[in-house]
């Protein structure tokens, strides 16, 4: 177990060093949040000039929701490149290297994708607290709520990773997967609550979103934090996330085991 962990944490450490190497990039990274939140703030201030409430959201509620989602996006979004990494590894024959080594490709990619989110948490958390303070938004302190929130964030991360991994694994059949990926992620953008809270969408779309895994990525953790209270509704959210993880995990395993039999390369 110790050797297993050392192996995968070594991958994680290397990734962290790569990410913090260039200073211009680090500075740009730090400035990204204020700029993006600034755009959201300006836009919604204009919208709230014309109304007091959008759905059940007042201006402050909306800002808190977007702040949490923004923070989550910073943590979770680096995993969006997983499909491309898997596509590259399969298409360029790099997969040979992993197949010849005593590692499982899935966990390897998972740990490799954990590096950037950890840096994002370190950079994003101070900004999250700073923006909460600047905008006068509540900071949740209930340890039980924070624990549930963290579990939900982790579940959201795993859901997105599995979706990405499945899309990447489709390379075994389609060679080029970017059209499918982009299409799925357009739908994802709407139904994950990234663009606008799902509850504000037209009713038919809210119903559709209940049958998709995307709401577990941003909307569920965002709502748990923004609502600030635990209850049966939150338990329901968590159960739905776990069910989606189980389903996607099975799908990923199936796609991988079927796909790998189609894999061929010239070796190297």
């Amino acid at each position: 177990m110790g050797r297993w962990l050392r192996c995968y944490f070594g991958v994680l450490r290397t990734r962290l060093k790569t990410l913090s190497h260039f200073r211009a990039n680090v500075i740009a990274w730090i400035l990204y949040s204020p700029l993006q939140l600034g755009i959201i703030f300006l836009l919604w201030r204009i919208i709230y000039h014309n109304t007091d409430r959008v759905g059940s959201f007042g201006f402050q509620d909306m800002m808190l929701y977007y702040l949490v989602v923004h923070f989550l996006r910073r943590i979770v979004e680096p995993v969006q490149t997983v499909n491309y990494e898997v596509w590259t590894d399969i298409n360029q024959g790099n997969l040979d290297v992993y197949l010849a080594r005593p590692v499982s490709f899935g966990p390897f990619v998972f740990f490799r994708s954990l590096g950037a989110p950890l840096v994002e948490i370190a950079v994003g958390l101070p900004f999250f607290l700073l923006f909460s303070w600047l905008l006068g938004l509540p900071i949740q302190r209930d340890p039980r709520l924070l624990a549930v929130f963290l579990v939900s964030v982790l579940a959201g991360f795993v859901i997105l990773f599995l979706i990405q991994f499945i899309i990447g694994s489709l390379t075994f059949w389609f060679e080029r997967i970017f059209g499918i990926r982009d299409m799925i992620f357009s739908v994802f953008m709407l139904f994950s609550g990234q663009l606008i809270p799902i509850s504000v969408l037209p009713r038919s779309l809210v119903t559709i979103s209940r049958y998709l895994p995307f709401e577990g990525i941003y909307f569920v953790p965002g709502t748990i934090y923004a609502q600030g209270q635990l209850g049966p509704e939150v338990a329901g959210y968590l159960v739905r996330q776990l069910v989606w993880i189980a389903l996607l995990w099975s799908a990923a395993a199936l796609v991988w085991t079927r796909g790998i039999t189609r894999y061929a390369s010239q070796g190297g």
Binding site: R23, N25, Y32, L43, F174, G179, S186, M189, I196
Partner: protein, 265 residues
């Protein structure tokens, strides 16, 4: 010289089309993606406007749909210059040698090699589909002059933004990897989706004079809808900025090339 470059350009365009059309499923799903992606922003405006008054600071739902479609037009123009975004990676990996050792402008080769002709066409087809449907459905009747001037303004605006983007990519020669700096610049492009004349004066000026996002979205749409205060003024500002950034770009490119070094390959 012009004949040689035209011939080469034609070849690169053909390669770009063949490269993308090789995967047919991907070709059609990409068009579908463009349409779905824009539809999502239309749903966004629909959702927002259902909670506010009839319009948003003078921008009605049809206007916002047209604004959304216009982002595809600028995207179609930008796709031809996607090679500029590859510059940081190529400099860091020493791949620029390939272009420097050929008897043609390295900048031309760099841009021409990564032109996304097919992606541009997909974006343009989607834009025309949405714009055409929106004009028919909502009864918007733009004049031919309005269409042409709005397109011209958009192209000049795209040139300015591309020059700035290229200049930022060029900083790789001095600072190493600047991909996140590029992402930061592209993030300001999110303003493209919103009517910038609703924002506070300072932001409006910034997005008109410094990072002229307005020239590729809000202003062309106002010209298209026949509601622009002065199309000539917008065009003038965009042309001055294009000239300024062209000079900066040319000067920096020369300095950058003088600084470049690699192990060769």
């Amino acid at each position: 010289m012009w004949r040689k470059y035209s011939r080469l350009l034609f070849r690169f365009v053909m390669i770009s089309f063949r490269d993308m059309s090789e995967f047919r499923i991907d070709f059609f799903t990409s068009i579908l993606h463009s349409l779905i992606y824009q539809a999502i922003f239309i749903v966004f405006w629909k959702s927002v406007l259902s909670f506010t008054a009839k319009d948003l600071g003078g921008w009605s739902f049809p206007d916002l749909v047209i604004l959304t479609a216009f982002t595809l037009v600028s995207n179609a123009v930008m796709q031809w210059f996607a090679g500029l975004l590859q510059l940081p990676r190529k400099v860091l990996k020493g791949e620029l040698d390939k272009y420097l050792s050929k008897p043609l402008s390295p900048l031309f080769a760099l841009v021409a090699e990564d032109m996304n002709g097919m992606a541009s066409m997909q974006a343009m087809v989607s834009a025309v589909l949405i714009l055409g449907s929106a004009c028919l459905y909502f009864g918007v009747h733009p004049t031919l002059g309005g269409i042409l001037v709005s397109l011209l303004l958009m192209v000049v605006g795209c040139v300015v933004l591309l020059l700035i983007q290229g200049w930022i990519s060029m900083l790789t020669f001095w600072w190493g990897d600047v991909s996140r700096l590029s992402s930061l610049f592209m993030l300001s492009g999110e303003f493209e989706r919103y009517p910038i004349n609703l924002f506070p004066l300072g932001v409006r000026r910034l997005l008109t004079w410094v990072i002229p996002i307005g020239a590729i979205s809000t202003y062309p749409v106002l010209v298209f809808l026949g509601r622009a205060e002065s199309a000539v003024r917008y065009l003038g500002i965009a042309a001055v900025l294009a000239l300024f950034w062209a000079v900066v770009f040319r000067f920096s490119w020369r300095k950058a090339l003088a600084r470049y070094e690699a192990f060769g390959g």
